[in-house]
């Protein structure tokens, strides 16, 4: 589904990703771990189409097609969803209005009929229920005044509503209490099926206890320095990154 080959990305003249190779097939869940500043969010944002990043080499194929030529909204309509590490507050725009507009532009692209306010609300309530989330969120401005955990839950709710083919979660588990963590994990598990691919960026084993990934990658200094099975995450949790970086000769912290 997603094939990244030798991807190099620069921002403000600084090379952040220095040749990433990553393939994710439908039905798979991959986790990306790695030290702060290693380029995880950069990768996630490049996939979503953020303009500030300059792709200086390599390619990104999504379902066999070049993703880089698509605008962010086109990528979303093709089925890519990014749960932001720092979700944006939009005062004055209610979550339901925001999400209804989003869902209908995606549905239109898929050739499905537009949902009216009534059907939208019914769907939203159903998803909220299955995620054990509070409906009041629908009437509040998008993320405005939300706690960190509420913002992350809202990302998961949006993901459930927009029904993506490739979901990318950038540290959606950070800053969550135990119940919220379960909601996020459930959200991912509910989405997990043989048609979809999921990429989770995380620092912690605890999310991976709920969602057992198929592959774990370690990103360091703009490169994937190691890939392995879920045991790799457990080892990292216990021992940190030091041993791995020594072994691979990579430099931690983004490396200038």
């Amino acid at each position: 589904m997603l094939n990244i080959k030798n991807l190099k990305v620069r921002i403000e003249g600084k090379e952040i990703l220095k040749g990433i190779d990553l393939s994710i097939e439908a039905g798979e869940v991959h986790a990306i771990m790695g030290p702060n500043g290693s380029g995880k969010s950069t990768l996630a944002n490049v996939l979503a189409g953020r303009a500030e990043y300059e792709i200086t080499g390599g390619e990104i194929l999504f379902e066999g097609k070049d993703l880089t030529v698509l605008a962010p909204e086109e990528r979303a309509r093709e089925g890519i969803f990014l749960a932001f590490q720092y979700p944006v507050e939009i005062p004055g725009v209610s979550t339901s209005y925001f999400l209804k507009t989003a869902l209908n532009s995606i549905r239109e692209h898929r050739g499905e009929v537009e949902l009216d306010a009534f059907d939208f609300l019914a769907l939203a309530k159903e998803k909220m229920k299955s995620l054990h989330m509070d409906e009041a969120l629908l009437h509040r401005s998008v993320n405005e005044g939300f706690s960190g955990g509420e913002k992350k839950k809202n990302e998961v709710f949006q993901m459930a509503m927009l029904d993506p083919k490739l979901a990318i979660l950038d540290e959606t588990d950070s800053g969550l209490d135990i119940d919220a963590l379960r909601i996020v994990a459930d959200g991912v598990q509910q989405l997990r099926d043989e048609k979809r691919a999921i990429l989770v960026v995380t620092h912690y084993q605890r999310l991976l206890d709920h969602i057992v990934p198929d592959v774990v990658h370690v990103l360091s200094g703009g490169r994937i320095v190691k890939s392995g099975d879920p045991d790799l995450a457990k080892k990292l949790e216990k021992e940190g990154y030091g041993w791995l970086l020594e072994e691979s000769g990579a430099v931690a912290g983004g490396g200038n």
Binding site: E73, V88, I90, G92, V93, F98, T101, S105, L162
Partner: protein, 450 residues
């Protein structure tokens, strides 16, 4: 057209002529109003058109007004654009609706429902001719003719408008709407609509003033409204300025509030090539509440200027001023927020905010608070901001599949929403919200058609 370097501006050649026509029409020497008019005539001749050398007009050049040979709008016959006008009407949602087309009351488009006992709603011209109560006491007594050329000119010429007089404790449930529509002909025309609103003790009403017009030919609306808000009364006032983008719109609103009264005003300014509004509220008693709200929106080469004064004369009053501006294209905005707190106005609470959104690199805003505080026990806060659409927010929308144009519309709508939501009349609120997105579609991406 020689321009001189004196501070006194010139007097448009047609102005005295228009005043003379008006004098003949309303009778000479026979009414109590003549001395007021004579004074107004002297004032506008003494003041002349303001130039940008006057501080209050530093950012707004009104010289173009002096170069146009305006004909008097009143009575100019043009095909009436009924459909366009009907879209602006409130019909049975209003208690009374007066529609003036080129200065003349259009009976067919106007309507009148049931009014509370004793409430008087009529064209101002009728009030001047047929009654003295209220009119004589207040007409021309509140407007700033001493310094405001346009208010003086309006008073000297004085076209028709709304007269509202509520007796003590009279409460109007439904709003009163007055619409001034200008239908242009091939020659530029100028009109001087005038309104007088009087709310006696303990009364309450909602008034909507609408200004609209169509056509390629420039025209000039020079409006003035005086409002007298009696003790313990409550008056809510909406003004929507939807003139053609080839028009000039100048307006003055002068309000005198008595003790324990509440006044709320909105200036919704979307039209005109040059729009200038002077708003002055005198808090002339104790425990008064006053709200001044504004939403201005300009695109293309539009220029919009609000010059506001909140004058705290009495103690323990509270005023809130909240203005938002959205500017696209090469549009220019000006906002001046004067807060005066007189020596005796202790325990004043005055709040002011002006927030602006610029949608292009060529749009600009001059915003400045002016505080003159002579009392010592005063709470006063003010703030002005100028910002652009949040790129992070735009990306967030787009990452969810929403078109950038749609995202912009939603963000602009949300920005305006803070003022729009305060509009207490559902129909007006919906119309204003719809106009915001219609006017600025593609405004930030430069795809607007101005």
């Amino acid at each position: 057209m020689a321009r001189t370097a004196v501070v006194k501006g010139k007097i448009p050649p047609w102005a005295s002529n228009h005043a003379e026509i008006s004098r003949r029409r309303l009778g000479n020497g026979s009414t109590w109003f003549d001395p007021v008019r004579e004074e107004a005539l002297r004032r506008f001749e003494a003041l002349g058109l303001p130039t940008t050398r006057r501080e209050e007009y530093r950012f707004t050049n009104l010289a173009p007004l002096g170069r146009v040979d305006f004909r008097r709008a009143e009575g100019v016959k043009a095909p009436i654009e009924t459909e366009r006008i009907e879209k602006l009407l409130f019909g049975d949602r209003a208690a009374v609706e007066l529609v003036f087309v080129n200065g003349v009351l259009d009976e067919a488009l106007s309507s009148r429902g049931d009014l509370a006992d004793g409430a008087v709603v009529m064209p101002l011209s009728t009030a001047i001719r047929e009654r003295r109560e209220g009119v004589e006491e207040h007409l021309g007594r509140h407007i700033g003719m001493e310094t405001n050329f346009f208010a003086a000119l309006n008073t000297a010429i004085l076209d028709d408008g709304l007269f509202l007089h509520l007796p003590d404790r009279c409460i109007l449930e439904k709003p009163v709407h007055v619409l001034f529509h200008t239908t242009t002909v091939d020659q530029p025309i100028a009109g001087h609509p005038r309104n007088l609103l009087i709310a006696n003790r303990g009364s309450a009403a909602v008034v909507i003033e609408s200004y609209a017009g169509e056509g390629e030919t420039p025209y000039w609306t020079n409006a003035a409204t005086e409002a007298v808000v009696g003790e313990g009364s409550r008056l809510t006032h909406y003004k929507q300025q939807l003139e053609s983008e080839n028009a000039f719109h100048i307006s003055a609103l002068d309000v005198t509030q008595s003790a324990s009264s509440r006044f709320v005003t909105f200036s919704i300014s979307f039209g005109a090539s040059i729009a200038r509004s002077d708003i002055r509220i005198d808090l002339d008693g104790e425990a008064i509440e006053s709200d001044m709200n504004g939403l201005f929106l300009a695109r293309g080469d539009q220029h919009v200027d609000h010059h506001t004064t909140m004058n705290h004369a009495g103690p323990r009053c509270e005023s809130r001023e909240f203005y938002k501006g959205i500017l696209a294209g090469r549009a220019k905005g000006v906002f001046t927020g004067r807060i005066v707190v007189c020596k005796d106005a202790q325990k004043t609470n005055a709040f002011q905010a002006n927030r602006n959104l610029l949608l292009s690199d060529d749009a600009a805003i001059h915003t400045q608070p002016q505080l003159e505080i002579l009392a010592d026990d005063v709470k006063c806060s003010h703030g002005a901001t100028v910002g652009r659409l949040d790129e992070e927010a735009l990306f967030y929308f787009r990452s969810r599949g929403i078109d950038p144009e749609e995202a912009e519309k939603m963000l602009i709508g949300a920005f305006a929403g803070e003022v729009v939501e305060k509009i207490d009349l559902p129909l007006l609120r919906e119309r204003v919200a719809a106009l915001v997105s219609a006017r600025l579609a593609g405004g930030a991406t430069g795809k607007e058609t101005a």
